[in-house]
């Protein structure tokens, strides 16, 4: 299964870009799924379901969504495998500019829009800095000059990333983004992989700088999503991992 982590500030067009990109992969006969991470509420799961995309959502509540993400990502990967997905995408609302959900050896995409202002790339922090691919949206409503200035600012923060311009409404550029997704390496588990950036603020082991993934490393305020894994699928609900019923979709 190909696994892609997508992050980005609220309302930049993550869902729009993911749907347009997955459409091309679906047309090629691939089975695709998304796990959406948000804070309090999201309607994105309905949008995905309408497109025939398997979906699960997780609401972090008071926790930083990226901390919540890393506490649940291995289970999400196992869910994707159990569903027989060819491509699994995680969408996280990057609400915390100190954290990022990007994992080493997993294709990391950051979405950011042309309307967020020239200082935005500098403020967004790790989720932009550590991305392999930066997708810039909403180029259809600003001038060429603003697109160039914005891309230059992104480049200053992340000189290595592939910068792609995608229109979330028309899908322009999404086929091209899809070629990167389907071409990324296979992920069978993220257990033992490391986050690209350690996460500050102390609530759980990850707050304390832990970067390894898996139940053995999770302590403190860890909440588990209920993904309704079929029996036999490998789960990671270690001791102290409370099941969170609200997260059922």
């Amino acid at each position: 299964m190909r696994f892609v982590t997508v992050s980005g500030p609220p309302a930049v067009g993550k869902t729009a870009v993911i749907i347009k990109t997955l459409e091309h992969l679906q047309r090629e006969g691939r089975k695709v799924g998304v796990v959406k991470f948000d804070c309090l509420a999201t309607e994105d799961d309905a949008l995905y379901r309408k497109q025939g995309i398997a979906v699960r959502k997780g609401l972090a509540g008071a926790l930083c969504p990226d901390h919540y993400f890393v506490s649940n990502v291995e289970e999400c990967v196992q869910w994707g495998l159990a569903e027989g997905l060819d491509v699994l995408v995680s969408e996280s609302a990057g609400l915390c500019n100190r954290c990022s959900p990007h994992i080493r050896e997993v294709l990391a995409v950051c979405v950011i829009d042309n309307l967020s202002g020239t200082d935005a790339p500098r403020k967004i922090g790790p989720m932009l800095k550590a991305a392999d691919v930066v997708v810039i949206t909403k180029g259809d409503i600003v001038s060429q000059a603003e697109r160039e200035v914005f891309a230059a600012r992104v480049r200053m923060v992340n000189p290595k990333a592939a910068i792609m311009h995608v229109n979330g409404i028309t899908g322009q550029g999404s086929f091209e983004l899809g070629t990167l997704w389907r071409g990324t390496t296979e992920t069978a588990t993220v257990e033992g992989l490391r986050l690209r950036f350690s996460m500050p603020a102390a609530l759980c082991s990850y707050c304390l700088g832990e970067t390894r993934i898996g139940a053995d490393y999770q302590m403190g305020n860890v909440r588990k999503m209920d993904l309704e894994l079929p029996t036999g699928a490998k789960t990671d609900g270690g001791p102290g991992a409370a099941t969170d019923r609200e997260d059922r979709t």
Binding site: T118, G139, I141, S143, R153, P159, T170, Q172
Partner: protein
């Protein structure tokens, strides 16, 4: 790829690559700036020097300093939506040409433009190939840090930055690390004023320009400051802008101009027009002498319509037209 700083003072490095200042500030190395005459290699830690060398190389590529000159694009036909071979097997467009793209909505115009932007290598749904100067281009146009192949101008685009015209152009020139920025900014402003007809000042906020003024500024700015060799225009409204002159400005700056349009006047202003249907390029039409002659009549018609619009706006009756 990396840049060496042997023998360069801090001041010299900053003079050549002003963006180095931000690099140093972000890494807490701004103290180096207090010694402008010092040898950069002597004052920066080794790892920072290595990172800076790589960063400057990436930025140079991004800014197009080393980008290749594009003289022509060749589009090799692929297949239509029904899988049949594309009727127009090959199309070559050169710098300084204006090519119109005509065809109904949904006929495949966007995919053609997408194929050009992505420099297709038979790896898009149409199976087309795009060559640059007759050769298969590398990945740099797709993911490289250099400029994109295509700059875009469309009716829906607006300025969103809260800046005056001068500040706006200065910001764009800086981000492109343009040489002689002051001259370029003046030139863009004066060209835009010629195009727009209704003049605007350098200290006008870009967000308060009229539709025609905005379009004029976008065209002049793209012509002079954008590093993309191809300019894609999706219509140019007739109101408030001299369209012939707009195309001339782009052509003079050695752009390849692609224009998706249904406007007969614009279509006849092009050097050639490509007809798209069923997801494929059907044929190329070169305007005949008769078509060119008709252009004058169309312009006269257009002028009459414009005058009627003006009268309507002025509150007049149109009993006599």
């Amino acid at each position: 790829m990396s840049v060496q700083f042997a023998g360069m003072t801090v001041e010299a490095v900053l003079g050549r690559w002003p963006f180095v200042e931000q690099f140093l500030a972000e890494r807490g190395l701004a103290g180096v700036l207090d010694e402008p005459q010092a040898d950069l290699e002597a004052v920066l830690p080794e790892q920072a020097l290595i990172d800076l060398g790589a960063f400057v190389a990436e930025m140079e590529a991004f800014l197009g300093a080393g980008s290749q000159e594009v003289r022509e694009l060749t589009i090799r036909g692929g297949r239509a939506k029904d899988g049949s071979p594309e009727p127009l097997a090959e199309l070559t467009v050169r710098v300084g040409e204006v090519i119109c793209i005509v065809g109904p909505t949904g006929s495949g115009k966007s995919r053609l433009l997408g194929d050009i932007e992505w420099v297709a290598r038979g790896d898009t749904p149409t199976g087309r190939h795009v060559l640059i100067n007759g050769e298969v281009p590398g990945d740099e146009w797709r993911f490289g840090s250099g400029p994109r192949l295509v700059a875009q101008l469309s009716q829906n685009m607006n300025f969103v930055m809260d800046l005056s015209v001068r500040e706006f152009l200065t910001l764009h020139a800086e981000s492109r690390q343009a040489s002689e920025p002051a001259e370029k900014i003046e030139r863009i402003w004066s060209w835009a004023n010629e195009l727009a007809g209704e003049p605007f000042a350098m200290d006008t906020p870009v967000t308060s320009l009229s539709g025609g003024q905005s379009r004029a500024l976008m065209i002049a700015d793209t012509a002079v400051l954008s590093a993309s060799p191809v300019v894609l225009i999706d219509e140019i409204e007739n109101a408030g802008i001299d369209r012939r002159q707009a195309l001339d400005i782009l052509v003079r700056q050695e752009k390849i101009v692609l224009m998706a349009t249904h406007d007969p006047i614009l279509a006849l202003m092009g050097d050639r027009r490509v007809v798209i249907a069923g997801g494929a390029m059907q044929k190329v039409i070169e305007p005949s002498a008769q078509e060119r002659a008709n252009l004058d009549e169309l312009k006269a018609l257009d002028a009459r319509l414009m005058e009627l619009r003006r009268r309507l706006r002025a509150g007049e009756r149109l009993d006599v037209i």
